[in-house]
Symmetry: C3
Subunit: 165 residues, 3 copies
């Protein structure tokens, strides 16, 4: 598993997609569900970027099931992204820890290489909002768990990938 992390618009997705292009058969698991026009437009642009280089799967919550279903059928799957997935878990009010546990377990057992895009969200003033704080902490801890599991970890700054593991 490969983990690609960084700030907003740091170029993480481009780095992840470029890494995936080195594999022969490619899937893309999009966790983003368009809540508004801004997001619909964003998703449309991302789809265009990928053109027909990837088979696209869309799933906001049951990502472990999708990963297990497509495991072995592709050389690589790009998972975009952990931050949106975690947001979905809170939004749909499912058991966050249980879903994350299953997700990590699934990743640990996969034959298909997975490239996970995630975010650094804890480098600012601690949010006053309790939910935002919990979100930042949960994402931080999950990033650390995935980084432990990963064979390669990249931090992307201003479009430049820095290999940190």
């Amino acid at each position: 598993m490969i983990l690609v992390t960084g700030g907003i618009k740091s170029g993480k997705s481009t780095v992840a997609l470029n890494k995936a292009l080195k594999y022969q058969t490619r899937a893309f698991l999009a966790t983003g569900v368009p809540f508004d026009e801004e997001m619909k437009e964003r998703i449309r642009r991302h789809q265009e970027e990928r053109r027909n280089l990837f088979d696209t799967y869309e799933e906001p919550v049951e990502v472990s099931r999708v990963l297990r279903t497509i495991d072995g059928r592709y050389d690589v799957v790009v998972f975009e992204c952990l931050t949106t997935y975690l947001g979905n878990l809170y939004y749909y009010e499912v058991n966050v820890q249980e879903h994350l546990g299953k997700f990590i377990e699934t990743l640990a057992s996969m034959r298909t290489e997975v490239i996970i895009v995630t975010n650094e969200v804890g480098w600012g003033i601690i949010p006053e909002n309790k939910l935002a704080r919990e979100f930042a902490e949960t994402l931080g801890k999950t990033n650390a768990k995935l980084a432990k599991l990963a064979s390669e970890v990249y931090l992307v700054v201003a479009g430049i990938e820095i290999r940190i593991k």
Copy 2:
């Protein structure tokens, strides 16, 4: 072109100024316009720091014009900073993309070395405020474009410069 990025009070400016001191003739292009007392005080302190080591130019919006005017007349110009400049583009309600496009075009053609100070602003929880979000995204994308153009890119953490390109 040299890009120096980092968080608030990470020591970016000091790193940029020290790099500029290695050149013989130096200009400083300040984009900050003092809106209040806090900012006036900040600008005054910055000016003291530079003393008479730099010729100072001040321009909040038409920075491309200033850069073209002084091009070739100095060995180096420190541009401080992209974050404030972008804030000015929004504040004065000019066409942001057009100005940024011209800015990048100007940078690509300059003979005088330019050292650009910018900020990492997208490493926190995604702002709820739409303008703040758009600002963070635009700055992130512009940083990546400039980093592509730059011969050297530095990330400054706790006063320590990390060369990432």
Copy 3:
């Protein structure tokens, strides 16, 4: 002195504690005072993590006095953390600059190795709240001063320590 910095839940504490375990006799200076249940629970979990591997001292404000008292009696002391300590200085409305000055002076003179945990809090949109902005700036500047004094500086990202000095 060793400085360990990073975002929320990046794994900074674990990195600091692991570094401390290489020393024979160990102290832990906790600056966190539980204001609410969430924080009490957090402190309790941290104490469990350290078990009986560290002598624990707790002091929200007069940390310099504690450090001078225990200096020479341990091989290492983990200071957790600068961010909370700075928050305490603001909360108790003492003279922030005076306390920080004494703190840095104390650190510079210690025989016991000190491992300081701190935070990166200035990598987001500049906070509109003046106090939050001042806090981020003061912490940023203090981090840079400590990094200058330190023999080793680590940036922790997703649980991975990156030595930057």
